[in-house]
């Protein structure tokens, strides 16, 4: 059995570790915050994170240090940090475990990051369904305030950091950083047009950094052990460190596994996940949450880092890997994901709002054996008219399942449409009349 270096899950996997402040401090917690506050200039911290190669763990994989560096140095403030805990990408459930099992790791990361970008206030935007995680975070914040790790003049350094939990109310799109800001401002969570970017015009039009939970949780470890150490793990120079990958679907042992990003899908699915849950072989897997195009068994030896997955034609995204065994209908799988996207489209951009509904209708028709021969052409066309034509990345995400299943399993679509054609003669349908025919019928009735 292979062993893999862990960073974020190390604490919580210790027997008896509860995630309380005393447990966290007992393992060296808040040491990094004490080290940096007032001693390390914020700019050096930003440089350190840049050097570590840490990239956003929420899906886009943007270099964290670079994002911090975009905050204008001469701005009078206030500046804000938002911790994106709106984990709602289907297939992803790592942030929930990080928050519920080791909340102080995240709070320390938030405090250090606030210091680095000069923010005095941080909001943790957590999805409304995560009531337990929100409660645990609230409790941890109270503990941290009492112990002086958060609040005004931390450790007498003159630095102030206030952290608040902001509970959402059920909207996938609020995980998009500008939609998150809109929602935090008390509006409908619709993404903003960019530019301007949040770094200059974010929350309340002030400089803002939005970072994922897992990204922030990595920060104390980088401070403690150095940028070079972090940069040596994984697939340097571009993808460094470990990631918590979420394994779901038809595997024996689903769950969260932390791996250096140079491990492969085979390591994750077969070594750690125990392989397929039944005797049926692997048919397909999604490598990075619902927004990532499907991959095939040919891709199991691909490395988990951003670049390798992109080269294979998909994306590493949020790190949610969903495994499907032989016998799963790919048309059905695409439909299920499309129904999700249709439900969650915020409605701002026409291609996404209308397109998702059309795709769902066509896929439902094909599944119900009422597909038409030109449906696949229509599907392709609709997808091409959504991708790249929306304000946020949601549009590109929602076409991924359809385009990738059409690419690898087109025969399944064709078989269903052929069946529909064969059934055509035997099916009684309500006749659709032309205007002329309808007038004729109307005339004969009067």
């Amino acid at each position: 059995m292979k062993t893999f270096e862990k960073i974020l899950l190390t604490n919580m996997e210790r027997p008896g570790y509860t995630g309380s402040l005393s447990d966290y401090e007992g393992t060296g917690g808040y040491k990094a915050l004490k080290t940096v506050l007032g001693n390390v200039p914020p700019n050096d911290l930003i440089e350190m994170v840049k050097k570590s190669g840490l990239r956003g763990r929420g899906g886009a994989g943007f270099p964290t240090g670079v994002k911090w560096g975009f905050i204008p140095k001469d701005h009078p403030g206030p500046r804000y940090l938002c911790c994106n805990a709106d984990e709602s990408e289907p297939g992803t459930f790592k942030d929930r475990q990080l928050m519920e099992r080791d909340p102080h790791q995240i709070l320390e990361g938030i405090a250090i990051s606030c210091y680095a970008i000069g923010a005095q206030t941080a909001y943790i935007y957590i999805r409304g369904e995560f009531r337990l995680a929100a409660k645990i975070l609230e409790r941890a914040i109270t503990e941290a305030y009492q112990a002086g790790h958060l609040g005004s003049d931390i450790y007498g350094s003159g630095i102030t950091v206030h952290v608040y939990v902001h509970v959402g109310a059920g909207a996938y799109i609020c995980g998009e950083e500008t939609a998150l800001l809109e929602s935090l401002e008390g509006k409908r969570g619709k993404p903003r047009t960019k530019p301007p970017f949040p770094a200059t015009h974010g929350l309340y039009q002030k400089p803002t950094v939005v970072n994922n939970v897992e990204t922030l949780a990595n920060v104390p470890h980088i401070v403690n052990r150095g940028a070079d150490w972090f940069a040596s793990i994984g697939a340097p120079p571009k993808s460094t460190g470990t990631r918590v990958f979420c394994l779901s679907g038809h595997v024996k042992r689903p769950g969260n596994y932390e791996l250096p990003v140079n491990a492969t899908f085979r390591d994750l699915i077969y070594e750690l996940g125990g392989g397929m849950r039944s005797d049926k072989p692997l048919k397909a897997f999604i490598p990075g949450g619902a927004s990532a195009p499907f991959l095939t068994p040919d891709h199991v030896d691909v490395q988990l880092d951003f670049e390798s997955v992109a080269l294979a034609g998909s994306m590493s995204g949020s790190g949610g890997i969903t495994v499907m065994e032989e016998g799963t209908s790919m048309v059905w799988a695409a439909l299920r994901l499309m129904e999700f996207f249709y439900h969650e489209s915020c409605g701002k951009c026409t291609p996404c709002r209308e397109g998702s509904s059309w795709i769902v209708q066509i896929l439902q028709r094909i599944m119900n054996k009422q597909g038409r021969p030109d449906d696949l052409r229509t599907l392709t066309e609709i997808c091409e008219n959504i991708g790249g034509r929306t304000v946020c990345a949601f549009g590109d995400a929602e076409i991924a399942p359809v385009q990738s299943t059409l690419k690898y399993w087109r025969n399944e679509y064709e078989a269903l449409i052929e069946e529909a054609e064969a059934l055509k003669g035997s099916r009684k349908e309500i006749p659709v009349l032309s205007v002329a025919q309808a007038r004729e019928v109307e005339g004969s009735l009067s």
Partner: protein
Amino acid sequence: MIFDKHQETVDDILSRYPVRRSAMLPLLNLAQREEGYVSQAAIREIAGILDLTPPQVFETATFYTMLNLKPIGKFHIQVCRSLMCALVGADPLIEWLRTHLGIGVGQTTDDKLFTLSAVECLGSCGTGPMMQINDDYYERLTEEKVGLIVRDLRETGDSAMKSGPFMVPERSKDVVSS
């Protein structure tokens, strides 16, 4: 008035933001916790607190799926129907609940005890099929387990089968952490 007895909480919420409108979701969530749904009266009251018009609050509330704008049952059963849960058997579970509660998806039982919803991903894909009832998650469900949970809720108003802090796999026994 709904928020009268929560004046302290309301003040605390308002103190967290430099702009009043940011208190929108926290107040809507509070109203729903208090009344079980977001009533028209609550919307008017929130508008008053935030210096907005009631339509501005209503407009925002309609965007968020967790906010119920109509009264629902005491226990809101929300079963995840997204692909990851569907792969491991969410659909039969929804069918089972429909049959045993005698209601369709989106409906409430006559005794106003249960409302059944099929919802999109709740972020618990490694432990599917799963459902959320009010604040609590219930994971790795089977028909038998769901039956016991429904019975517990009907009889005692609570169930011991709800999830605690998430940790899956429980502890990676096979993997030595460095």
